[in-house]
């Protein structure tokens, strides 16, 4: 007998805890975001991405097909099981129509499969795994902003074209890094450049001096970091310390760098680095107009994924309106049919595999002297055409493209 009350209490508590916040009526159009709100990725996505989605809904007018539009979000705490169980509840109980972003590629891929199962739509903005539009592609998923293939290829091609033809890679030692380097090497070779060396570094290694010394003793003129997040920040910071890329004839290239990381490093440290991004707030009038509105809400400028959340949400809502239904297949057809033109992307379109095709930009980080103020960080060096940047149809491993051809 004696454990019964405990168990009852535990289960009652469980009920209360897992109960969802009261949802609005079923006839609302709902978009959901599964974000890391408090963990490692909360800067590059998190609250900022949710805000961007909310801005899109507000700008759209708040209603579509006569129904109110609602944004829901959850803190997935970088756990796949939390992301997937919430996605299921959203689709089943809360009638969420589309999930417009999810942190972590593993969680995103799992959510994308649930979208297929539940006949809903999934748009990926933050993750860069090429799997979304290759092995794991499906008719329900759009990969909107970038992928690591595009970053590696764009950086590789544009930098070689600019004269940086001898590459040395500092690569994080697991699948992500190995693939990243291989893609960049291909791009470098395709433009006539060569890879003169590379070194593997463990994840979270914090000390890069050993790798940097090897890079320094090579005759490379480009030192590329096939790393992510804190690893990239540490590598760049220590490169500056070793005097690499500042005042010598070498250039640093970060293959995956968010503007938030440049902000955290400071221009003193990051100056001169080359990087590829799909977006920068200070490209033209339109980007500035959006970004300044965002800045007012968030206190910082949007990065490419956050701007992408706005743009993709907006595109989704327009497609719902055009399709006259929230049925995923018809909305998806409209999304793939309608060109995208807003501050984020010009003449963008969504390929059959779900890849949103857009131009990428190569930026150089300004020196403190060149910068005129907060967030004035990048100078555009080159534009890489969408077809040049993303996986060509011929190389795609997506069955949706195979059927067509």
């Amino acid at each position: 007998m004696k454990f019964k009350p405990i168990m009852t209490a535990a289960l009652v508590a469980g009920t209360a805890l897992s109960a969802l916040p009261a949802a609005a009526g079923p006839d609302a159009i709902k978009v959901g975001l599964l974000m890391d709100m408090t963990g490692n990725y909360s800067d590059v996505a998190g609250r900022g991405s949710v805000t961007a989605a909310e801005m899109a809904v507000e700008d759209f007018g708040g209603t579509v097909l006569g129904k109110p539009i609602e944004v829901v979000h959850a803190d997935m705490q970088n756990k796949v099981d939390i992301a997937t169980s919430i996605a299921r509840e959203w689709f089943d109980v809360d009638a969420v129509d589309a999930i417009v972003d999810s942190n972590m590629s593993s969680a995103g891929l799992a959510v994308s499969e649930i979208a297929v199962e539940k006949d809903r739509l999934m748009i990926m903005n933050i993750s860069g795994s090429p799997r979304f539009t290759n092995e794991s592609c499906n008719p329900n998923t759009i990969h909107y902003v970038y992928d690591t293939y595009a970053l590696a290829t764009s950086t590789g091609k544009a930098v070689v074209r600019g004269g940086g033809d001898k590459w040395f890679f500092v690569t994080v030692d697991y699948t992500f890094g190995h693939d990243f380097q291989a893609q960049a090497e291909d791009a470098v070779a395709s433009e006539g450049g060569e890879t003169v060396g590379s070194v593997l570094v463990p994840l979270n290694a914090s000390d890069y001096s050993s790798a940097l010394i090897q890079a320094q003793s090579s005759d490379a003129n480009v030192i590329a970091f096939a790393t992510a997040g804190a690893d990239t920040s540490n590598a760049i910071k220590q490169a500056a310390e070793f005097g690499i890329g500042q005042g010598d004839d070498r250039q640093l290239a970060g293959l995956l760098v968010y503007i938030n990381e440049v902000d955290a490093l400071g221009l003193e440290t990051a100056q001169g680095m080359l990087l590829t991004s799909a977006f920068y707030w200070d490209l033209d009038e339109e980007t500035r107009a959006f970004s300044e509105r965002y800045m007012e809400k968030m206190g910082k400028m949007p990065n490419m994924s956050q701007a992408g959340v706005y743009s993709s949400t907006m595109h989704y809502l327009k497609a719902v309106e055009a399709a006259g239904t929230e049925n995923y297949a018809e909305v998806m057809a409209k999304m793939k049919e309608m060109p995208i033109n807003d501050f984020f992307v010009k003449d963008g379109y969504i390929r059959e595999d779900g890849r949103m095709m857009r131009d990428m930009y190569l930026f150089r980080v300004k020196s403190p002297e060149e910068s005129t103020g907060a967030w004035d960080y990048y100078e555009k060096v080159a534009t890489i055409e969408a077809e040049d940047a993303f996986t060509p149809v011929s190389e795609s491993r997506c069955y949706l493209l195979k059927e067509e051809s």
């Binding site: 570094v201 001096s209 050993s210 955290a264």
Partner: protein, 294 residues
């Protein structure tokens, strides 16, 4: 001439670089050893205190507008003060419990601190640059050493030596050593052991804070900078054993060098080499290199 197909310059260079990493391992494991000696607590929050030191350095620059030297003094004091609060508010009431509770408590404290910092300062962290005096590099011929790293090795050696002297050669140090052996007896001589215990935690925390300041110009100052480091430092501590302070220092530098050399000979293993050395030590000498207890 080559050693296993590697030019000796490269190896010598890596040894030097390894000493720099070893400096942080030594300072942190020294602090852990001091705390363990008196509190019998393995301070899981040590990585968080290290991180707080780095952030305190950033704050003295960004908020108070002071220079690196000021940070070098203020940050350890601030972290030490924080340590005092932690010791008085939390640790003090669990000394009579199983030592594992100390580990669990400090683990919770670490999670809490790191969570709060991420909440306040963001996950990407804050900029901190090398102080102007130490800009630039020394080209030693066989290796290039950024001047600041030279300073780090020197500063950590001096600090380790100073702490060693404090503990081995001063009256306060003899209190600390005696209290490590038999706190009850020391209190029977009229010495306030509770105060000594608090000072040991403050000293350990301040050392972690100092390492944090020293790390700030090299490593990105982020809320998680101490998280992975602490696990490595634990492995260093297990390898060295908790027997002596000099043991903690020597093992710290030694493991840094071993790690550095692994990066040359077999880079794929450099993330696990310290754990492997620890495992080997457990096979050969379970109490650790300098360990006394069975």
């Amino acid at each position: 001439m080559e050693i296993f197909g590697f030019p000796p310059q490269l190896i010598l260079g890596q040894v030097l670089i390894g000493l720099i990493n070893g400096s942080f391992y030594a300072l942190l494991s020294l602090g852990l050893a001091i705390i363990f000696g008196l509190l019998r607590v393995i301070n899981f929050a040590h990585g968080a205190l290290y991180m707080m030191g780095a952030f305190a350095a950033w704050m003295t620059q960004a908020w108070l507008g002071l220079n690196f030297w000021a940070a070098l003094v203020i940050a350890p004091l601030a972290v030490g003060l924080f340590g005092l609060v932690v010791e008085r508010a939390f640790l003090r009431s669990i000394y009579h419990l199983d030592h594992l509770y100390g580990l669990l408590l400090t683990f919770g404290i670490a999670l809490l601190i790191e969570g709060m910092y991420r909440y306040w300062f963001g996950a990407a962290g804050k900029p901190f640059t090398t102080p102007d005096v130490f800009r630039g590099i020394w080209d030693l011929g066989f290796v290039i050493v950024p001047k600041y790293r030279g300073f780090v090795v020197l500063a950590s050696l001096v600090t380790c030596l100073a702490v060693w002297l404090l503990i081995e050669r001063t009256r306060l140090g003899s209190y600390l050593r005696a209290a490590t052996e038999n706190p009850d007896l020391v209190s029977c001589f009229g010495i306030n052991v509770s105060l000594l215990t608090a000072s040991a935690y403050v000293l350990g925390a301040a050392l972690a804070g100092l390492s944090g300041v020293l790390a700030a110009p090299i490593y990105q100052v982020t809320p998680l900078m101490g998280t992975n480091l602490i696990i490595v430092v634990f492995a260093v501590v297990v390898t060295g054993g908790m027997g002596s302070l000099s043991g903690a220092i020597i093992t710290g530098y030694g493991m840094g060098v071993i790690e550095g050399l692994t990066k040359v000979f077999y880079p794929a293993a450099s993330s696990v080499v310290i754990f492997v050395v620890m495992a080997l030590m457990l096979l050969l000498r379970p109490a650790g290199l300098f360990g006394k207890e069975a």
